[in-house]
Symmetry: C2
Subunit: 271 residues, 2 copies
Amino acid sequence: MTSDQLAIHTFTTKPWSIDECIENYARHGFGGISIWRETVEGEDLARVSRRLKDSGLKPVSYVRGGFFTGTTAEARRQAIDNNLRIIRDSETLGLPMIVLVCGATPGQSPRENLSQIQDSIAAILPAAENAGIRLAIEPLHPMYAGDRCAVATMADANDLCEALNHPLLGVAADVYHIWWDSKLEQEITRCAAADRLFAFHVCDFKADLEHPLLDRELPGQGLGTCARVNDLVKAAGFSGMTEVEIFSRRYWTENQHQFLEKIKAACAPLR
Amino acid sequence: MTSDQLAIHTFTTKPWSIDECIENYARHGFGGISIWRETVEGEDLARVSRRLKDSGLKPVSYVRGGFFTGTTAEARRQAIDNNLRIIRDSETLGLPMIVLVCGATPGQSPRENLSQIQDSIAAILPAAENAGIRLAIEPLHPMYAGDRCAVATMADANDLCEALNHPLLGVAADVYHIWWDSKLEQEITRCAAADRLFAFHVCDFKADLEHPLLDRELPGQGLGTCARVNDLVKAAGFSGMTEVEIFSRRYWTENQHQFLEKIKAACAPLR
């Protein structure tokens, strides 16, 4: 895969400001960018949008909405309001898609969490439709199913999409989160066949994590799951940009230009 | 749940020898014991068996067989031989069931791993039948699916059991590994309905793990998933002993008698 087929998530180069991300991703020859809310906090979003247009980078997604669950109706209503704001910000930034990390509340069962998630996505879909922005549900690894995201498999995400059945609602498939699933091929096929495979993220999983969130690896450097899942996603017909989303305390201490070159080299063997 | 309904896994009190485990579990009023191979390494198993009989503790399971996968036929044959030895040892110890942690080899897909696991279990079932020993496939959390156990869900375990369809082959359901699954209720019901729910382990999952293997919690002290899964398992008709299997570097530094009393208190609210 050549670098113009890759989009970088700004959290991947966490030490950089949004201006540094835009300038350097373009300079290193990457094709696109996905912007994290953390990277543009306190920024003038209209200014960022102009800068993004000038860069020639393809705007891929805004990361991340969601976190819909809560034990009270008031908490869930606030989460919906927050997501409506995120949709407006995404529109201002010129980003056509929002990645949803859907939330999970300790003490609630997966079914309770998923039911709240479904209701809340239903509540924000009209605003997404008005803005013409796609929503991509991202299943997270079951490590995070208790406190971050009850959508723990491609099947969970596909089930939600089927229940809500809206052309702007689909799935973000991230290798880091889904590689382990014996039902992966059938669920990727199911997702793509319904035109719901909106996004594909690469990042490798390490067997012996040193941190539950921030110890992710370059494709091929961990368990080596990216090539297989990339093949499945491409065989299912996915033709969008491949997004690189690596959180790593280790890589963040390195020179970020060199890190980008390592990403390029690690993704090159992917078809 | 009273302590006579609980069996302790010897790895839970890792600092203790097998003799200390047997003596102290009985003294603290626990009903049963599951013995780890690590705890009896180098021991005269016939002597341990006599000591176990004298203690009045119910022998529950031998932990753990499995690790069947490998990139070469020779590696897989050695794993089968090892499991045949484990079956003989389990018989010597008087333990009626072996827990299988089935293995996963980095670089192999879940499907490849599961296919090798199925073939290898088929190869050891006749020996288990001769010994009258039950084999319990334990699904492990998907954190471990790349290098320890490709059986990552109750569905995977149920599928394997269905494919091999043998009355001595069933499933060990461990809260730590399966709490996150939105399909859990249906898969526990499916397992129990086929008389395959052989074992039930309790241990709570922490959201922010400090170690990928050795940072497990007492029921109710982590995400609080044990009560819900315990209810599901009991509603499905499970009537065996509830096994306590907690690996924790933190608890291992404490007085193990006090740790056992904490376990008793933490399990008391479970139905």
